[in-house]
Amino acid sequence: MPTRTFIEAVREGLRDEMQRDEAVIVLGEDVGKKGGVFLATDGLYEEFGEDRVIDTPLTESQIIGTSIGAAVNGLRPVAEIQFADFIFPAFNQLLSEAARMRYRSNNTFGVPMTVRAPYGGGVHGALYHSQSVEAFFTHIPGLKVVIPSTPYDAKGLLRSSIRNDDPVLFFEHKKMYRSVRGDVPDGEFTVPIGRAQVTRQGTQVTVVAYGLMAHYALEAADRAADEDISVEVVDVRTLRPLDKETVLDSVRKTGKCLIVYEDNRFGGYGAEIAAIIAEEAFDYLDGPVTRIAGPDVPGVPYNHVLEDWFMVSPEKILDGIRTLAAY
């Protein structure tokens, strides 16, 4: 099987879907000639022309609001938000409009739209080019939220997202774009929205993670194995709707769970997973549900000393695994 970097898989997913379905358009800042600041859309402008690859003005609310309208009138827009940190001018359009259109119209209108955005830190991007934003969206009924961690999942889930009849937010950890490679078959395949994956089997501790943290979790699990701690890793992949059963099955087996996320800890996405486990797997728990997450400061600082302090690392996860295993 051919191997691809993460960003190549995203780009191929876009290209394939645009070839397959004329209704698919791409729009956002610098997605045209420049091919996106991370080159996710490189070559699409040349292949599909300016009607289907639209360089928008620097106006995120417009990007999303216009995509909603275009989706209502027969297109399948794939909007790029240049950095997830800049999605907030469009927050009202996403929460009040995209997420609610179907419900509020009693199923007479729908918004088949995908919003892609690079997120995450560890790339020297400071407060405004490092943020993890998923928790703001996973709390919104009516939105689907996808965060793949492998090139295979990226391509397969992006295809599913574009074909989905409802709004999907598709977040890509920017540190993975070029550092993560993996097998991606040629030809048609999809990965279903709403299914988590056990990416490593283990018996003593379950680690639940997604995005870059799914890789760090595997790395920490490997190292834990050297210390004879058997770790199971669940890569959530779709944060909403969450595949609760896969998570719960694992925790019921291991009896211990560590949830890892890069975002600020308080009120982050992992809090919901912890709450679900605390309620629905209580009888199986042999230790507290613990979390390793970003500290509660308003952003990832720039200076490398400060950034390292902020970021969740395989070491920090390993520490969490050790503590829990010893409980």
Partner: protein, 351 residues
């Protein structure tokens, strides 16, 4: 670029009217239908207040004073082909574009079969997929971007559709309006923005909402036409809209139409406008009511006469009675419905 045209001044010689109708391409029959629509929207609206005061429906938000502009402007669109993204005062617009009196009344009662939302939304949040009438939300002005997106899709898909949206002058200050006009103008989209300027955003007078009296003055900043019309002059509204729609359909891009209207009622049934509007102003603005004005105009022109007016009134009353009775007897939604239609697949998590 901005063309600022004032509507026909009030008090013009009445005999001009028939020619005005003709000059904008409307037959007497069409003028009568337009009048019927203005009067019907008013009749429904008045009934809503009666029902509210009688404790039958908990909330009313009204279009009284705006109906002339709404009927005149919406009339220029092709029903079942073009798109409208309305706002909460768009009773006359929604009806001109295809919604029936029963449709409107089931929305007031929030019944299971209310086509706008199946009883999920407050009254005033009209929408109807079969008529290309987009579902309304409450946060103001968001709909401009949806209409612009609809126009973008129309252009890309080459459907020949025009998308029109409506909002108040207070709402026109939201950032989305700037972003929407800019994008529509850059891409010369088939899009029309209609501002129904009634001088107030709830209690805030337009002098505290806008630096200039005319929202239309902003159009020139985007290189598009901006027109001010007298919203009580139905035919001037129609003419301005026809021009904007034709321009849009030709591919020449968006326009902004500002109709100066009056808000004859409080902001909603929860508002007492006497607290912040001087009595003289309220009195003076009664003269801007489009219904008597249109009636007198068409009567003077010989299009309407007393008998026809009485017949239309009676027919409208029957339509409103029927709609009210219908809505009163329609069932509430079942609680089971509340969990449905979060996603196309149904309930969350079941795929």
């Amino acid at each position: 670029m901005a063309v600022t045209q004032r509507g026909e001044a009030a008090g013009r010689p009445a005999k001009g009217v028939r020619r005005v109708g003709a000059s904008v391409g409307l037959s007497d029959e069409q003028l009568i239908e337009m009048y019927r629509m203005v009067a019907l929207a008013r009749a429904i609206d008045e009934r809503m207040w009666v029902l509210n005061r009688a404790g039958r429906i908990p909330f009313v938000i009204s279009g009284q004073g705006h109906e002339g502009a709404q009927v005149g402007i919406t009339w220029a669109l092709k029903k079942g082909h073009d798109w409208v993204a309305p706002f909460y005062r768009s009773i006359a617009t929604a009806m001109t574009f295809g919604m029936t009196a029963r449709d409107m009344m089931t929305a007031q009662y929030a019944t299971a079969n209310d086509p706008s939302s199946g009883g999920r939304q407050m009254p005033g949040h009209y929408g109807h997929a079969a008529h290309n009438l987009l579902s309304v939300s409450s946060p103001v002005a968001t709909q401009i971007l949806h209409a612009v997106g609809i126009a973008l899709a129309a252009k890309i898909r080459k459907t020949g559709q025009v998308a029109m949206t409506f909002m108040g002058e207070g709402s026109s200050n939201q950032g989305d309006v700037h972003e929407g006009l800019n994008f529509a103008a850059i891409h010369k989209l088939p899009f029309v923005l209609v501002i129904e300027n009634n001088g107030y955003a709830i209690s805030v007078p337009s002098s505290k909402e806008l630096a200039l009296p005319d929202v239309a003055a902003r159009a020139s900043g985007y290189g598009i036409p901006g027109v001010v019309v007298d919203g009580a002059d139905v035919l001037a509204c129609y003419r301005a809209s026809k021009e904007a729609v034709e321009r849009a359909r030709r591919g020449d891009g968006p326009s902004l139409i500002e109709a100066k209207v009056t808000r004859l009622t409080g902001h909603s049934s929860d508002d007492q406008q006497t607290k912040y509007r001087p009595a003289e102003e309220l009195e003076a603005e009664r003269s801007l009511d489009p219904l008597p004005k249109f009636r007198e105009q068409l009567t003077a022109a010989g299009v309407l006469d007393e008998e026809l007016i009485a017949r239309i009134d009676a027919e409208n009353k029957a339509v409103v009675d029927d709609a009210t009775n219908f809505a009163e007897s329609e069932p509430d939604p079942s609680p089971d419905n509340a969990l449905e239609h979060v996603f196309a697949e149904g309930v969350e998590g079941t795929f």
